[in-house]
């Protein structure tokens, strides 16, 4: 029982990332009808927003520290971040430590801008072209984005720690009455899960309870009629694209402490997220979220020792296997709507 619970918990953080990316992908697909292969790159850009903010906050200048001396007796020259000068060393240090959560605020305008430029500058011109062209051009864009990041940040993963308040793990099992030490869970993963839940709830609430969201939903259902009613649906869809980019970016920002960001993390996630979208059902938002968590948890179950001993290698292929089975038995995915992507 405790082992099962542990696997469910382990699957949650990866599942959250899948769900967030898949949600953005589905938003874009449902509104604009574009298959966005660059969505993983947006996830990666978000992660590098966190890295950049960390770098900016740690910008330092050199001062001569009279209180310390090196081994020759000369005063030591130390690097002091500017932020220490402005807020004092203690507040400054904690600001740097909290750079990942702060990067949420930092990344929102950046990701919205990126999403806006991407949609207006490139994707707009691909509405009427075949899906294969859309896949190809966004695939090219993903390569370009990841190479730009590689040029500026190098090819190695950049560790970006979580705030010290959230480092370490806690014993989840004791809270539920299991033996101590059976279910150890890192704090940050729990934070990530709740963060993902808040974002997902936010997106759904936005679509469900605002007038803007209502128009967008109407546009997803029947774009032409909404246009005929005198509503500029294109403008709203562009905003939805920016929001989807923002969701992917935020998923990336918060993922940095779990996995040090590198330039190809986006593509690694994208391939799986596409599988998630297809399993959930192309164009279905709840389907994307459900499939994200489901596949995340399945993946972590499949990597249990007992399962791997029974079926070697199952942890590597489980997601693809599930996708194949679902596509062949339920061609529209778990919650797919009729008439989406069917030719």
């Amino acid at each position: 029982m405790d082992a099962i619970l542990l696997q469910i918990l382990n699957g949650l953080d990866k599942g959250s990332a899948y769900a967030l990316i898949a949600l953005g992908l589905t938003l874009i697909f449902g509104t604009l009808g574009v298959v966005n292969f660059a969505h993983g790159a947006l996830f990666m850009l978000g992660a590098f927003c966190a890295v950049t903010l960390n770098n900016i906050l740690s910008l330092s200048h050199e001062i001569v520290d009279e209180t310390q001396t090196d081994f020759l007796g000369n005063p030591l020259r130390v690097e002091v971040p500017y932020i220490y000068d402005w807020f004092g060393p203690e507040v400054g240090a904690s600001i740097i430590e909290w750079s990942v959560p702060l990067a949420i605020l930092f990344s929102i305008p950046i990701m919205i801008a990126v999403g806006f430029i991407m949609e207006r500058g490139l994707i707009k011109h691909f509405y009427k072209r075949p899906h294969a062209d859309q896949i190809l051009v966004t695939f090219g864009l993903a390569i370009v984005l990841q190479e730009i990041i590689k040029y500026f940040y190098g090819a190695n993963p950049i560790p970006t720690p979580a705030p010290p308040a959230f480092t370490g793990s806690f014993d989840f099992g004791t809270m539920l009455g299991f033996e101590p030490g059976t279910i150890i869970y890192p704090y940050w993963r729990l934070v990530y899960f709740f963060f993902a839940m808040i974002i997902i709830a936010g997106v759904f609430a936005f679509l469900q309870f605002t007038t803007f969201g209502m128009v967008v939903r109407a546009g997803m259902a029947d774009r032409e009629t909404v246009g005929l009613l005198g509503i500029n649906i294109d403008k709203r869809f562009t905003i939805m694209f920016a929001i989807a980019a923002c969701v992917a970016g935020l998923a990336g920002v918060m993922y940095t402490p779990i996995n040090s960001p590198n330039y190809h993390m986006g593509m690694d996630f994208l391939v799986l997220s596409f599988v998630v979208v297809v399993v959930g059902g192309m164009g279905s938002l709840p389907g994307a979220v459900l499939a994200g968590f489901l596949l995340g948890i399945l993946e972590s179950f499949a990597s249990m020792r007992q399962v791997v001993d029974l079926l070697p290698g199952i942890n590597q292929i489980i997601i693809y296997l599930v996708a194949i089975i679902i596509l062949l038995t339920r061609p529209r995915g778990l919650m797919g709507r009729k008439g989406v992507m069917e030719d």
Binding site: L136, L141, I143, V144, Y151, V278, L327, L328, M341
Partner: protein, 416 residues
């Protein structure tokens, strides 16, 4: 000639000429000169040109004719590689049986994957093929690498069927029942074509130029020419027309009472066999096979090649393959020092500026150039380099001819 139309015969002859004279044509700069680094006439790279050419030709039969975008074609490349490798290990170093086995095995594999994947179309087909390829990759990487019969039962030097991360390598302890266990020098033997070693090469010195003729290159080139010929025949056959009909309107085909499924499966299998052949040739040139050949980036690469060169054109995929491999091997070698040498004639500040501006696009950043080029092609030239060439030719012929041509183009889809 050989049952080809006049236009195709001309194209085929040009391709024959280009491939046979490649050691000269790709070595335009004398040895030791500053431009010598742009020479692509060394065997290793030329082999890659033709091998990836085969891969892209095969991919084009599927994507160019039927419009089904497979994102998992590298799986067949990998299967072909492993099959050829096992042939080398178990039987002998002759490349012919090895290539045959690669083609047959990858064909069977393609029947299996194609039968399942082709039930769906569009993005679903892409995802299914991608999923299958990634599964094959994961299996080759982990499961098939675990030895089930205990360690080194047959004296084989690798783990399991695929060797996992390190992949398959030749070893002097391999059984090789029809050939020598070791070469004359006691090392692992070299793949050969009835005695002609793939690695053997003769050099020819003409003035400052050094031309290398490698047996491996000419063997691969012949295989590619055969593959190219078959692809022309497929493009011009009723079967090819059928595939094009599938691309333009599958529903209408259904209504006329024809079942498109067998045709598509045949196209998928043929293109899988091409990929397997390319994989087998890779191993024949350099006896190594690893799981990374099945990774989805490898599948993405062949998509890039085909699109860049021109989808649905005969020669496009070969051009695209050549261009990408050239960039990968030549553009990536340029570093900032070479750039500084080139722009040394500029004033100092300007020189630094120019070098800084160009630097991200070359050397290790060649992928960036590739990505930008690819995007530009998809946006502006959906027909790839071939269409670009046609447009330039049309522009050169003057306006009147161009009008005529554009009329003709209106009838003829880019899938010509």
């Amino acid at each position: 000639m050989l049952g080809l139309e006049k236009k195709d015969t001309r194209l085929f002859l040009i391709v024959i000429g280009l491939t046979m004279l490649a050691p000269f044509l790709l070595n335009p700069f004398p040895e030791g000169s500053e431009m010598a680094q742009f020479n692509a006439g060394y065997p290793d790279l030329m082999q890659r040109f033709v091998i990836f050419g085969i891969f892209a030709i095969g991919f084009n039969i599927l994507f160019g004719l039927t419009g089904y975008l497979s994102f998992g074609h590298a799986a067949f490349l990998g299967v072909g590689s492993y099959a050829a490798m096992w042939m080398f290990k178990l039987f002998g170093m002759n490349v012919v049986p090895a290539l045959l086995l690669s083609v047959v095995l990858s064909g069977l594999f393609a029947v299996l994957i194609g039968y399942i994947s082709l039930r769906r179309s569009g993005i679903y087909f892409s995802i299914l093929t991608l999923a299958f390829a990634m599964m094959s990759y994961a299996l080759a990487y982990s499961v098939l690498a675990t030895d089930m019969d205990g360690p080194d039962k047959q004296g084989l030097m690798q783990k399991g069927l695929t060797g996992g991360e390190t992949g398959l390598q030749l070893s002097v302890q391999d059984p090789r029942i029809l050939g020598a266990k070791a070469g004359a020098d006691g090392n692992t033997p070299v793949p050969n074509f009835f005695g002609i070693e793939m690695r053997s090469a003769t050099e020819m010195n003409v003035g400052d130029w050094v031309f290398t003729f490698s047996a491996g290159y000419y063997f691969s080139a012949f295989v590619m020419l055969i593959a190219f010929y078959i692809s022309i025949r497929i493009f011009r056959s009723p079967f090819g027309m059928m595939l094009r009909a599938i691309k333009s309107n599958q529903q209408r085909l259904n209504y006329t009472g024809l079942n498109p499924k067998p045709y598509m499966l045949a196209a998928f299998v043929v293109s899988g066999m091409y990929a397997g052949l390319a994989g087998g040739l890779m191993v024949a040139m350099d006896p190594l096979a690893g799981p990374e050949r099945m990774f989805w980036t490898a599948s993405g690469e062949v998509v890039l090649m085909t699109i860049l060169g021109g989808v649905g054109t005969l020669i496009g995929p070969v051009l695209g393959a050549g261009l990408i491999k050239y960039m990968e091997n030549i553009l990536s070698k340029i570093n900032s020092e070479i750039l500084h040498q080139w722009f040394a004639w500029m004033p100092d500040g300007l020189e630094d500026l120019v070098v800084t501006l160009i630097y991200p696009f070359i050397g290790k950043g060649w992928h960036l150039t590739l990505g930008l080029m690819f995007m530009a092609v998809v946006i502006f030239l959906p027909g790839g380099l071939v269409e670009g060439g046609q447009r330039i030719m049309a522009a050169l012929r003057g306006r009147k001819a161009k009008d005529k041509k554009s009329d003709a183009d209106a009838d003829v889809k880019p899938a010509e």
